[in-house]
Structure formats: structure tokens, C-alpha cells
Amino acid sequence: MQVLYFAWMRERIGAASEEVDPGEARTARELVAQLSARSEGHAAAFGDLRAVRCAVDQEMGDLDMTIAGAREVAFFPPVTGG
């Protein structure tokens, strides 16, 4: 599955996207646990989950959303447009 990062999460991880095998992870939160182990940057990006939002196949939701069958999961901080 494709995982996307935005804003300071993208900067800490050092990539806007990466191909990931979700393995046993069934929710976005379980995927986060797996991704955090990838590098120090990943750990820093996911250090405070209160500041992390996600979208599964472009549908916004919370970290307990299912990722079963998803082609794309995105992680990003709270939005600040306008």
C-alpha cells in the first residue's frame, strides 16, 4: 500500500510517500506502530499521536479506521489553511 505524509510529518520522515506492506496491521493506529519502527524520523513524526490525522483512500477519519483493502493511507497534522 502507498503511505503519504504531509507538512512536518513529511519533513521528519524525509519522504512524501513510500510503499509499505501493512503486514498484520488492520487499523491506521496499528500501521502507525509498524511505521514508527522504520527510522528515527518516523518515530519523531509519530511521536505525539494527538497531532496526527489520517485518511484512508482519501477519506478523512481517525486512527481507528480500518485499512483493510486500502490502496493509500495518508498521515498529516491538523490542517491550517484559509
Binding site: L4, F6, A7, W8, A55, Q58, M60, A74, F76, P77, P78, V79, T80, G81, G82
Partner: protein
């Protein structure tokens, strides 16, 4: 309002917009419009330690447009609008630059004021944009404001 439904368009772009031209386009040919409310958001320079010299606006291409269209559709469902226009810029911006334009047209002013405020409140909390400001100590991602969450929440009581 005239059977054809409201005239609603969303644009996400790098380029600046022309408020007068946008408003003329929105109201052209519809003589039942009595009120247009426009909101323009601008980059503030701030002062002191928080002074900024530049801003970079990141967004999620494709998804941003869908999010703004969903907000526009929700506004149309809630108020009798004759037209709704949303323009949001991304990329590099400087203090004083325009960031966002929302125009809401209706027969009477109450619907136009409320719809424009609603679109801004939802846009601030639901559209995937992220602001990075450059100040004297380098770049800094803007934190979300609690006030924006509170502003968006006020529209959810009656729905």
C-alpha cells in the same frame, strides 16, 4: 434559485485572484441576487518574535478540491444560494498576499453572510492545507487554532 441550481465553482491554484472580476462572474445574468458576501484571507506579517518574511502553503492535490467541493455542497444544502465561489492559493506567498476568497450570493443578506462564514469555518478545519511560515529563526509550521475548531463546531448543533 432559478431551477438551474446555484452556480458553484472551486479553484485551487498558485495564481492570485481578482475579487471584482470573480464577483462580476458570479452574479452575471442573475437579477435575483440581492446580496453578495465576500471573504478574503491575507498573509499577516505579524510583528516582534513572530514576524514572518514568507509563507509556503502545502496542499494535497486532488483531495483539496474534493474537500472544498464537499464544503460548498454542504453550504448549498443549508442556505438558499444563487452562487458560491471558492478560490484557494498554494505555494509561496508573502505578507499582504491574498490566500483565499469565498463569495456567497443569495437573495437576502442573512443567507449570504452565514454561508460565507460557514465555508470559512469548515475550510479552516477540513481542507488539507498546511502553512509553513519563514521568520527570523527559520521555517515553522503553523499550529491549528482551537478557535477554528470551536467556530466549525457551532454549525453542528442544528444539523
Amino acid at each position: 434559485m432559478d431551477g438551474a441550481g446555484p452556480r458553484t465553482t472551486v479553484t485551487v491554484c498558485r495564481e492570485d485572484f481578482d475579487i471584482g472580476a470573480e464577483q462580476a462572474r458570479l452574479t452575471a445574468g442573475n437579477l435575483e441576487i440581492g446580496a453578495v458576501v465576500g471573504f478574503t484571507g491575507l498573509v499577516r506579517e505579524m510583528t516582534g518574535a513572530g514576524a514572518i518574511s514568507a509563507m509556503e502553503l502545502e496542499h494535497w492535490p486532488g483531495v483539496t478540491e474534493k474537500a472544498l467541493e464537499a464544503i460548498a455542497a454542504e453550504a448549498e444544502a443549508r442556505w438558499p444560494l444563487a452562487g458560491l465561489r471558492i478560490v484557494h492559493r498554494y505555494g509561496p506567498l508573502a505578507p499582504g498576499d491574498r490566500i483565499v476568497l469565498v463569495l456567497a450570493a443569495s437573495r437576502h443578506r442573512e443567507a449570504a453572510f452565514e454561508a460565507a462564514a460557514f465555508v470559512m469555518d469548515y475550510l479552516k478545519t477540513r481542507a488539507p492545507f498546511w502553512k509553513k511560515e519563514t521568520g527570523p529563526e527559520g521555517g515553522c509550521w503553523v499550529d491549528a487554532r482551537d478557535a477554528d475548531d470551536a467556530a466549525a463546531a457551532r454549525w453542528q448543533d442544528g444539523s
